[in-house]
Symmetry: C2
Subunit: 193 residues, 2 copies
């Protein structure tokens, strides 16, 4: 039940004393899942907010032809959730699936709401977490507009080399907005250089 990684992560989002961070971490409970587990299913309401201490998770949905589209890849340490589903307590339209065995820490919606209410640092932390995620998504969006598939790929492999050791190229391709065939060709061209 060692929460050191959670505590450390909380402090990277919002710097605060060890005591404070330790206090915030107290409400989190452990959940360990095996590879290929569905952490949150399409149509269900997100009831827990998860901190991913170790492992890889992806979120995905389906396009109109029924093909699976990877919307996000989560690499520890980070928080994993559909914030809209969680904060509005509405059904999500995504699936969250473990790509490896994972070690998670979770807190229920009610506990989060209660802590937001009673602990100013916790709500400040929550807001920064949201803002950080929003900013990351904006950067990804910008890449989709202005970068070629090859540039998106090389940027991604530079910033997240670990993901390539643990996630299939098909999933990465979909996350980058291209087909696995195209990604394979892009990789070939890069090797040639």
């Amino acid at each position: 039940m060692n929460k050191d990684n959670l505590i450390k992560y909380i402090q990277t989002v919002l710097s605060m004393s060890n005591e404070k961070a330790n206090h915030l971490s107290e409400k989190f409970k452990l959940k360990e899942v095996l590879k290929n587990d569905l952490v949150l299913k399409d149509g269900k309401v997100s009831r827990q907010n998860y901190f991913l201490e170790a492992g890889y998770i992806r979120s995905f949905t389906f396009d109109t032809d029924g093909n699976d589209v990877t919307t996000n890849i989560f690499s520890a340490p980070c928080f994993v959730n559909d914030f809209l589903s969680f904060f509005k307590q509405r059904p999500t339209d995504e699936n969250f699936e473990s790509l490896t065995d994972c070690r998670l820490w979770y807190m229920s919606f009610e506990e989060v709401q209660e802590s937001f209410h009673s602990i100013p640092e916790f709500r400040e932390f929550g807001r920064l977490l949201l803002v950080n995620n929003y900013s990351l998504l904006k950067q990804r969006m910008l890449g989709m507009i202005k970068d070629t598939a090859e540039t998106r790929y090389t940027n991604f492999i530079e910033t997240h080399p670990d993901i390539f050791q643990n996630v299939s190229l098909k999933i990465i391709a979909s996350y980058l907005g291209i087909t696995d065939t195209s990604l394979s060709r892009i990789r070939r061209e890069i090797v040639k250089k």
Copy 2:
């Protein structure tokens, strides 16, 4: 100094009594800008959170070749801000420019922080605003992955027909992640059908 539209908008984000919404609106001050005004400039820290009551604003940045890339188009009524710059009080890397004359209501960073602290409804409202924006961006991202440029265009014209009356096609094209040339051809094909 009629804040009815602001009050109404606050209530669509988080339903609450007229009195409460009225109270939340009190701290906002009026700002009117002409077309082509820079509301927030690249390199500056966002000091104000803006509610756009009337008009159109876009955010943009530049790609590596110096071409201007529209990252977002804001159509009243909505809030306009770089949340990362605002909440972390860091320089933004985007420009926010009025595309028409605009009527804005703003609140300073200090006032927002103070109100988050003292008014529970205000922070709940702030969180929902963030979550809604995050969700919209996620939907847009999903469109970039799974839809063709033509589909993104037809979806956009259906959901935001008013924008086409007020914003040039070059800006819309950039927002959709294509060139103005391609958008022009897509429009021609649609007319043919």
